[in-house]
């Protein structure tokens, strides 16, 4: 286990921003923090980057306590904040050299390292440009390179793709996957679950400072129930009346909405359960003309999870 938090808690005055967070990030995995605005993602990440004290709890990186030994922990962590700026009057390579120096990277190693990183983030041709002339997406990639300058084991990236266009987002995703292939572990936050679900091995959904669910996407879908919507078309009104009666006796059927001769219902079961429902219609002589199933998207599940919490 590369990163482990134990009941990590943060109060801002009386306000509980992070409530007993327990997460574990394994070596070589991408771990996602998802949650709406104000969920506590940045708070958790700043504590892990040694930029803020926790009110209670512990965190360990590679077995080192972040609270007891921040200087050592910082060597293992590369942090990219959600908002950041750059110095004027510095060129791209000087900018990276400055942070390499600040991380005590020996002078002899910096040159090749900077070249490698610039290639990784696709800025090799901007080496001699002034940092403040770069576009926002470029600055974000440069900041990513900066967070890698001391070759940390864990990257903590706070919404690294915010404010980027779709192409830049895809590019960022590609870079992160390449880093994962190099063996880096990444803790990344976003308020968009589908965006993370593609590249994260596991995610943790945060809401109001609490971890609501965590695990890999499949596990989360299981925990939340594989909810689907089914739409059934009945032949006549009497079939619809009888059909609704049948569905009322089924525990797996949730809320129903009628539309003409169609009924749209929330269904909490598997495909096998659907076939049983169809059989039950047949046994009651309910004539159905059509049936269709739509699985709820990750985003809908996410919104529901968060909605239940609030």
């Amino acid at each position: 286990m590369l990163l482990k938090t134990v009941n990590l808690t943060k109060y801002y005055g009386n306000f509980l921003a992070l409530d007993k967070l327990n997460i574990e990030v394994r070596e070589g995995e991408i771990y996602g923090f998802v949650g709406p605005n104000g969920a506590g993602k940045t708070t958790a990440m700043k504590i892990l980057a040694c930029l803020m004290n926790a009110s209670a709890g512990e965190a360990y990186i590679d077995g080192i306590s972040i609270m007891q030994n921040p200087a050592k922990a910082k060597k293992l962590i590369g942090y990219m904040p959600d908002f950041f700026g750059v110095y004027d009057n510095l060129k791209v390579d000087e900018y990276l050299d400055f942070y390499a120096d600040a991380h005590n990277v020996p002078k002899g190693e910096r040159g090749p390292l900077i070249d490698d990183l610039l290639r990784l983030v696709n800025l090799a041709d901007k080496k001699d440009k002034y940092v403040d002339t770069l576009s926002r997406g470029m600055k974000q990639r440069l900041c990513l390179a900066r967070s890698l300058i001391h070759e940390p084991k864990l990257l903590i990236l706070d919404e690294p793709a915010s404010g980027m266009d779709p192409q830049a987002r895809a590019e960022m995703k590609f870079i992160l996957k390449a880093l994962k292939a190099q063996g880096k572990s990444i803790l990344i936050s976003s308020h968009i679950l589908p965006e993370l679900s593609e590249m994260c091995d596991r995610v943790c959904i945060l809401s109001r400072g609490k971890a609501v669910v965590s695990g890999n996407i499949d596990e989360i879908m299981d925990t939340m129930g594989r909810r689907a919507k089914i739409t059934i078309g009945f032949l006549a009104d009497e079939d619809l009346q009888n059909g609704v009666a049948v569905m009322r006796t089924n525990d797996l059927v949730g809320e129903m909405v009628r539309e003409g001769n169609n009924v749209e219902a929330v269904f909490n079961g598997t495909d096998e359960d659907i076939s049983k429902l169809i059989k039950a219609f047949a046994l009651s002589d309910v004539r159905i003309v059509s049936i269709s199933k739509t699985v709820q998207s990750l985003e809908q599940i996410f919104l529901e999870v968060i909605g239940n919490e609030n």
Binding site: C50, L51, P70, G85, V86, Y87, E94, A102
Partner: protein, 286 residues
């Protein structure tokens, strides 16, 4: 013997690089020297025009002293004005630009960051002193001045710019905006100068009511300018025997020593507090 000074502070090397690159730096230096020369010309010509006929070497050394005092005093106030401004943005501009967190999550300790910011500002002021040294040679041409006096002046400049710079730095950790921290730094320094004078004169006044007439008020010890004049006086005693204040040299030494200690305490306090203030994990080790 070869002494290798290793500047192992990324902030210093990077800020020096940026400063050297900017076209503003040489121009600022030129303007600075120009201001000094103007003052020098005005006061030197005034001194020369009041010179009696039948020039004696004593008259020439009078002119040398005038040039020396003019240069030293004008520079003193320029430094008091420049030093706090050059550090007042040190931390607040990092906050404004949102780069402070990036710095704090490196291996640089808050102490190293504060020292780096201070030294890179002071080095610039040091360059200003050094650029003014050739002007002092004009004073030597007339005589009345000794090299020790120039060294004393430079040491005092260093101390005053250290203190004023530290105060500016301290306020830059308190306020989010550079403008606010500049204003507060100037206000604080202004108060140190004015309060020590006002309290000093009040002291003398109240003592005189009781029929006591001391040469010097205790509060004057805390006035950097008075102590600066005292220090110059001590250094020049050897060559001219002149003494700006009508006090014993014991009192002159007390004045300078107390003031030097006061300035050191003030700058240490400002710097230590600044280091504490930017440490995000202050009061940790639960």
């Amino acid at each position: 013997m070869k002494i290798k000074i290793k500047v192992n502070n990324p902030i210093i090397s990077s800020e020096m690089k940026i400063r050297m690159r900017s076209w503003r730096s040489p121009i600022a230096l030129l303007v600075y020297i120009f201001i000094l020369v103007i003052f020098l010309l005005i006061f030197a010509s005034m001194a020369l025009s009041t010179m009696r006929y039948g020039y004696s070497s004593a008259d020439y050394s009078e002119v040398g002293l005038v040039i020396f005092y003019t240069l030293s005093i004008v520079q003193f106030f320029i430094i008091v004005l420049v030093a706090p401004a050059s550090t007042a943005g040190a931390i607040s501009s990092e906050r404004e630009k949102q780069t402070l967190d990036l710095l704090l999550c490196t291996q640089m300790s808050p102490a190293k960051i504060v020292i780096g910011k201070l030294v890179s500002s002071l080095l610039w002021i040091l360059l200003m002193f050094v650029a003014s040294i050739p002007l002092y040679s004009i004073a030597f041409l007339f005589g009345g001045v000794n090299p020790m006096a120039v060294v004393t002046v430079m040491l005092y400049y260093f101390l005053v710019s250290l203190t004023a710079g530290s105060i500016g730095l301290f306020y830059s950790t308190v306020f989010k905006r550079t403008v606010t921290s500049s204003i507060m730094a100037y206000l604080t320094i202004f108060l140190i100068f004015i309060l020590s004078l006002v309290i000093g004169y009040a002291e003398l006044f109240f003592l005189s009511q009781r029929g006591v007439y001391p040469d010097f008020a205790k509060a004057f010890y805390f006035n950097p300018f008075i102590a600066f004049l005292g220090a110059m006086s001590i250094a020049l005693q050897g060559s001219t025997g002149s003494n700006i204040f009508a006090v014993t040299s014991y009192q002159l030494y007390t004045l300078v020593i107390v003031n030097v200690i006061f300035l050191f305490v003030l700058s240490s306090f400002s710097l230590l507090t600044s280091m504490k203030r930017i440490n995000p994990l202050k009061g940790s080790k639960r």
